[in-house]
């Protein structure tokens, strides 16, 4: 049973209210930080903790904070990224819905560290009822002196506002998010300048994920060093994983990144295995954009070593035989699932969500979707598979923002690992409409050379 730092109290009855949250020890980190620590000391603590951004890229949070420009007389802003739209990911929703004050607490401390007097939570538009939950939490915090003017008599002023998006995955990308916050279309900006120099309204801005900012609370309470002892290597602290697809217990789990993928997938404490006695075929371990892995590369690395649920181990083997931690969206596919269909569905998603600004992504995502649809319907040609490979390689790395990469990777990985299933859709077109390629050899043990 791993240690829980974020969700430990999530199911205490009434924890959504300020009274219960406070009684359970909430807002202690605000008192500690604002009364006894300088903003610089907090940044130091976060650096020591080794906390990595939980939004997907895994960039060290403390380091990011230290980049923020501090020009004389220019306000700075902290923006919390609650856009959560990467398929497979629903951990931030869980945190905000069940224990909203934890996020507000983390935001106050982080705003103090960064000197933000107006902090915004950019939440995806569909989470309409969570907007109400957050606004209520903000009002309660304010009524109790944790927000507003002169917080706890320390002279620090801070307001938090919730800004609701309106349906656009791309607004999770931090510069698109900023554009959207400014009331514009969610077109990612061309960088440089980076938000730390010129972000919202041209002011220095830090954008962090919900979970990242909530993690600041235990970091301040425990101290950065102690936080860093949890987990392993550069995967410190705990991580929220949202598990879905073909598993017995879909849901959000807090893990301390030392458990193996096998334990996470099969133990009753977490996913509880695959329903109906079915076998594992494949898994997308970190949100839909990260490479899909066949069963045999998921539980063990190409070297035959156990794979663990942490940043380093999940990416062991690079894109050739590994994947990524990404946003922590763990999507499981059982033996009855069709990889071509799944890839098509994801390609449709990325085409739908492309902002359309740059040509490789705007045109390439639609082209891939059409080809995959044709293959899935049994109308494809075997040259389509090579063409798909070529298109994804022309998109990857050549776009304004990483959505292009996010659209290219799933296609690349599916072809890399499941090419024979794609080919089967061409050679057995009619059969592919009524039956399934099945598990095939995807769960076979990997041959590990001993010499």
């Amino acid at each position: 049973m791993g240690r829980k730092l974020l969700l430990e109290k999530a199911h205490v009855p009434g924890i959504r209210s300020y009274e219960v949250y406070r009684r359970e020890g909430g807002y202690a980190s605000v008192e500690k930080a604002l009364k006894t620590m300088s903003p610089e000391a907090i940044v130091e603590e976060v650096k020591k903790s080794g906390l990595r951004g939980r939004g997907g890229a895994g960039f060290p949070a403390g380091l990011k904070w230290s980049f923020i420009a501090k020009p004389e007389g220019v306000p700075r802003h902290l923006v919390c990224n609650a856009d959560e739209s990467e398929p497979g990911t629903f951990k931030d929703r869980y945190l905000m819905e069940f224990i909203p004050h934890l996020l507000i607490e983390g935001l106050i401390v982080s705003s103090y560290a960064l000197g933000s007097h107006a902090t915004y939570i950019y939440i995806r538009g569909e989470y309409a009822w969570i907007t109400d939950i957050l606004e209520q939490a903000i009002n309660e915090a304010k009524a109790n002196g944790f927000l507003g003017k002169n917080i706890l008599g320390t002279g620090f002023d801070c307001e938090i506002y919730v800004h609701r998006g309106a349906g656009a995955y791309i607004c999770g990308e931090e510069t698109a998010l900023i554009e959207s916050l400014e009331g514009k279309r969610g077109n990612p900006r061309i960088k440089p300048p980076f938000p730390a120099i010129k972000g919202a309204w041209g002011r220095p801005t830090v954008v962090n994920n919900v979970e990242t900012l909530a993690s600041v609370v235990p970091i301040i309470n425990l101290g950065g060093e102690e936080y860093a002892t949890i987990g392993v290597g550069k995967s410190t602290g705990t991580k929220l994983i949202s598990a879905c697809g073909n598993i017995n217990k879909p849901g959000v789990y807090e893990i301390d990144m030392t458990i193996s993928v096998e334990e996470f997938l099969y133990s009753d404490e977490y996913c509880g295995g695959i329903p109906n006695g079915k076998k594992l075929k494949a898994c997308i371990p970190g949100g839909s954009s990260v490479p899909i892995l066949p069963a045999n590369l998921l539980l063990k690395t190409a070297k035959g070593e156990t794979r663990y649920m942490n940043y380093e181990s999940l990416s062991d083997g690079g894109f050739a035989s590994g994947s990524m931690m990404g946003s922590g969206g763990f999507i499981v596919l059982d033996e009855d699932q069709c990889i071509v269909r799944n890839t098509y569905s994801l390609a449709r998603f990325y085409r739908h969500e492309s902002c359309g600004q740059c040509s490789p992504c705007r045109e390439g995502t639609g082209w891939m979707e059409k080809l995959l649809y044709r293959l899935e319907k049994g109308e494809g040609k075997s040259s389509d598979i090579d063409l798909l490979w070529d298109i994804q390689s022309k998109i990857e790395g050549n776009t304004i923002c990483p959505l292009g990469d996010a659209a290219a990777w799933p296609v690349a990985a599916a072809i890399r690992h499941f090419r024979d299933e794609f080919e089967w859709h061409v050679t057995h077109a009619a059969e592919a409409q009524t039956s399934n390629f099945g598990l095939a050899h995807y769960a076979d043990p990997i041959h590990v050379p001993t010499v």
Partner: protein, 365 residues
């Protein structure tokens, strides 16, 4: 006065010094020739433009003297500034050539290739781009995108299917007119240039969208289908205009002014913005003081009708293939096919000198 810092930058093995703050694209243009990457969306005179089309991608093989690490990805040269000691590869990088061919294919994917009936034919940057950097045919086998028709009023014709979403026209409306009325609607591959509610775009400077549009998506209605550009003779001219500089290029045949545009430099960018009055309403030779013929030094089809002398025409003797160093421009329009200006039954090569409307009229009955 503080000294302007000079940075040394090497592009395709040619080293020059440029002031700090210069973009790689501008540095490359100073060297000129093939070293200058193609730019479909960037426009020097429009703030914030560039970065979108990705045709100008280059490889930075050395970041700077201080930090010599290469950049991990290709970068948009129009939006990346040079650093001291930077080394850039454009046409010397196979990666760039390959990526660019991909970008060209993407840009053409949904393009109607209706050059035969397009007024931009002959001065279209996408045409140039496709035969200089593209591959011969497309691998796209799906139906091309279509859009509902939008009307932008009496001056400007919009063909949305040809648009490459460079955003230049939006920047023009934002930066040159006091009230922006058109913009980009919808998103992704459905994005389109529109006003939503049909509006007559008639702001004093809005006509400049025609000059900045790299393709035939925005064209001059007052010129529409009247002629092909390569039959016209460009002349620099000016008038005393109360609104703009009045410095324009007239596109004439004989004494007739067919079209008025701004003067463009070798990169296809205008020298001065001109007003709607000069562009759309002054179509008499007597409106203008003629300065002399304008040399069009773009290497495109338009230069085929290149006017070397003051009078008469040099009819090019070389074949197209020879002019283009062996490349066979597959995507170039075949002007013998359907066109409202060029009826198919006229063998243009048989016409002595530039074609006249008479040549077409006489055949009409």
């Amino acid at each position: 006065m503080s000294e302007i810092q000079l940075f040394k930058v090497t592009i395709d093995n040619i080293t020059i010094e440029v002031p700090a703050g210069t973009s790689i694209l501008h540095a490359a243009r100073q060297i000129g020739g093939d070293v200058a990457p193609p730019a479909m969306c960037f426009y020097s005179k429009l703030e914030g433009s560039g970065g979108k089309c990705r045709t100008c991608l280059v490889e930075v093989s050395k970041g700077s003297e201080k930090d010599p690490r290469p950049m991990p990805k290709l970068v948009a040269s129009c939006r990346t500034n040079v650093m001291d000691g930077m080394e850039v590869k454009n046409i010397t990088s196979p990666k760039v050539i390959d990526a660019r061919a991909g970008i060209v294919e993407f840009l053409l994917l949904n393009h109607p290739l209706d050059c035969p009936v397009c007024d931009q034919a002959g001065e279209c940057h996408l045409q140039d781009l496709s035969f200089e950097h593209g591959k011969a045919d497309t691998r796209y086998e799906f139906q091309r995108r279509t859009f509902p028709k939008h009307d932008l009023g009496k001056y400007i014709q919009l063909h949305m299917t040809r648009c490459i979403l460079c955003y230049r026209c939006v920047f023009v409306a934002d930066q040159l007119t006091n009230k922006r009325e058109h913009g980009i609607l919808d998103r992704g591959d459905h994005s389109e240039i529109a006003t939503l509610i049909e509006k007559n775009l008639d702001n004093d400077f809005i006509g400049n969208v025609i000059d900045v549009c790299p393709v035939g998506a925005l064209t001059d209605k007052t010129f529409r289908f009247k002629n092909r550009v390569w039959f016209l003779k460009p002349m620099d001219a000016h008038r005393n205009c109360p609104t703009c500089s009045g410095k324009v290029t007239l596109w004439n045949r004989g004494e007739e002014v067919y079209r008025v545009t701004a003067r463009k430099d070798q990169w296809g960018e205008v020298e001065d913005w001109i007003c709607n009055d000069c562009r759309f309403e002054k179509k008499q030779s007597s409106d203008w003081t003629i300065e002399g013929p304008r040399l069009i030094d773009r290497h495109s089809v338009i230069a085929q009708g290149h006017y070397a002398g003051t009078v008469g025409t040099n009819i090019p003797t070389e074949t197209f293939k020879a002019v283009h160093a062996g490349r066979d421009p597959k995507l170039l329009m075949d002007i013998h096919s359907v066109s409202e200006v060029n009826p198919t039954d006229i063998e243009l090569s048989l016409i002595n000198g530039p074609a006249h409307s008479n040549n077409f009229n006489s055949n009409k009955d």
